[in-house]
Homo-oligomer: 95 residues x 2
DNA sequence: AAGATAGTTCAAATATCTTTGAACTATCTA
DNA sequence: TAGATAGTTCAAAGATATTTGAACTATCTT
């Protein structure tokens, strides 16, 4: 199922989300594990405060680069590879 | 000729450069024309001051998203498509 | 129920990015 | 040569992004 047209603002949101070392490290980590991981685990691995983690996950989520799965207290995230594909593979088409 | 390894900082530089509406508009414009264009022309089209233009071109240049060709007073820029390719097509490999 | 754990929200502090105008260099044109 | 044009540099101002700690909600454990 392909997503419909993306606006410039969507692109900005995605590239802004990618333009930060912590968020890139989170993406790298999720890519290596390639399965759902809790926000708490990632924050620990990245050595950032939970507040800061919460902030970064929100930005990744709003860019649709991760998808979220809440189980009771905990929030699990995975990469949403279709979004990467949409913005990278089809960059020139969507520009 | 392929470029050697890219660091996280290189990636940040590229994604930051892409994370701005003016710079995205410049890229879009250069992509449509698909040939060298002077900074002055672009600044006019984008309706930004020459100082602001100078700033944005520097950022695009340092990210190697454009390449520059100076002719006397004027500076001509083109897209450096190999950089886009390097960061988009090979994103997961280089992560 | 009391205390621990996972995560969010808020506002203040800090850091980073972008725009602005003035002053500057180099080139062009009359 | 004098004046216009293309672009850069600098520092200050303004706008955004990020981090921090405290207070909060919801769930889990004993």
């Amino acid at each position: 199922m392909t997503k419909s047209m993306q606006t410039t603002e969507d692109s900005i949101k995605v590239f802004k989300a990618l333009a930060d070392p912590i968020r890139l490290a989170i993406i790298r980590y999720l890519n290596q594990l390639n399965h759902e991981v809790s926000c708490g685990e990632i924050s620990q691995v990245m050595k950032i405060s939970k507040t800061s983690g919460s902030y970064h996950f929100k930005i990744l989520q709003e860019a649709e680069l991760i998808s979220v799965h809440k189980v009771a207290r905990e929030k699990y995230v995975t990469l949403d590879r279709s979004t990467f594909d949409r913005y990278f593979t089809h960059f020139w088409q969507n520009l």
